[in-house]
């Protein structure tokens, strides 16, 4: 009786937040709406029993993307006032409205034309899952049946980081990204940055480890670990890392590299790229996940840091 009402309220709130984050005139308000939208969407995924998706949405959709957008708002602040005085012409507005209506209409038609029984591979996948040795079906699918997607995802992240780095000025290449944060060493932020990371690191590693059999996994874990690192940086307890350090760069590429090596290894042992030989899938999946974790932590945190801006004079 109550459950449908709650669902309706959440859906109405979601739609309202979505509209608000688009029409808000102030970029900061738009991002605030977007973050709340992400958190509410995570609640929706919990109600749909998609705990893995909910965790990812809360961590990446609400948390990390929100933080990235807030950083962008801070950098755009100087140009925002000038931009808000500009108005698009009537023709542009009409064209944009037509395009939006067209896309929305097309989507509506597509949704109504979906078959009642959505096409699914789940009945084929479920009996095959025990062969992977992984209890959590999401992890099993991501690293056994759709391993190529996961590999490309990891590579895309590394390329995105290289893209962000290349926006930095030439003279700062290999230097430290962002400004040096300053904070009261005895202040509240420093206190939080001393108390929270030990707990956060344990929870992050727990989420990683639990990902084999329960909801959780490397992405959610990496977001928490990266957030702990960011906290320490913002409290000025540690500076942002030098981007020319070999150990840092090795950590960034170790995940995709191990993934590719295991994949090529599969050509001989299992007869297919990314195939796992019988009985070896669980340890190999674990090896890949362990290699991907540092990659994800470093890439997520360094994406937040942005391109290198200052280099120590040798």
């Amino acid at each position: 009786m109550i459950a449908p009402v709650v669902s309706m309220v959440v859906v109405a709130l979601l739609l309202w937040l979505a509209v608000w984050s688009v029409v808000a005139h102030d970029a900061f308000l738009a991002v605030a709406a977007f973050v709340v939208y992400g958190l509410l969407l995570a609640l929706v995924w919990v109600r749909l029993a998609g705990i893995d998706v909910a965790l990812t949405e809360a961590a990446i959709g609400g948390g990390l993307t929100g933080a990235l957008l807030l950083g962008a708002v801070g950098r755009l602040r100087r140009t925002e006032a000038a931009l808000s005085t500009e108005h698009a012409g009537t023709g542009t507005r009409i064209a944009a409205a037509l395009l939006a209506v067209g896309v929305a209409g097309g989507l509506m038609i597509a949704v109504t034309m979906l078959p009642e029984q959505p096409p699914t591979l789940a009945p084929l996948v479920v009996p095959a899952l025990p062969a992977t040795g992984v209890g959590n079906p999401i992890t099993g699918v991501l690293l056994a049946f759709r391993a190529l997607d996961t590999l490309l995802e990891a590579i895309v992240l590394v390329i995105a980081l290289i893209g962000v780095w290349s926006f930095g000025p030439d003279h700062a290449w290999g230097g430290r990204p962002g400004p040096r944060y300053s904070a009261d060493p005895n202040g509240m932020l420093a206190y939080l940055a001393r108390v929270l990371p030990p707990l956060g690191i344990v929870i992050g590693i727990y989420l990683f480890w639990a990902g084999a059999d329960h909801p959780g996994g490397k992405f959610q874990s990496a977001t928490i670990l990266a957030a702990m690192w960011m906290l320490v940086q913002m409290a000025a307890l540690a500076d942002t890392p030098r981007t020319d350090r070999n150990i840092l760069r090795a950590g960034i590429v170790v995940g995709p590299l191990v993934f590719i090596v295991v994949g090529v290894f599969g050509l001989w042992t299992a007869g297919a790229f990314l195939g796992y030989p019988d009985g070896w899938s669980k340890p190999l999946i674990l090896l890949i996940e362990m290699a991907l974790l540092p990659t994800l932590v470093l890439v997520l945190a360094l994406l937040m840091n942005g391109p290198a801006t200052r280099k120590a004079v040798p």
Partner: protein, 96 residues
Amino acid sequence: MSTVLDVFSIVAIMGGAFFYLAGTVGLLRFPDAYTRLHALTKADNLGLALVVVGLLPQMNGILAAAKLILVWLLVMLSSGAVSQLIARSVRRQEPQ
């Protein structure tokens, strides 16, 4: 016994919901950032505390209960620290 616990849960969670409601009203009605923060932290700390206390008897196992308490402690830590930071940044923007 279980009825007593259920009643206890309902009363505690309703109490928590009341603090959330009061905190939200305060957030909407109070005049400046400091009083709004004051209202919010009451909702976070007392409201969540009562909800957690109300849920404790419904948990099966010590581990699940301990996790709930950990969530409450973490929220208290973060909301306390964050409201301090917000208050400080508001104070810095005020004309001296």
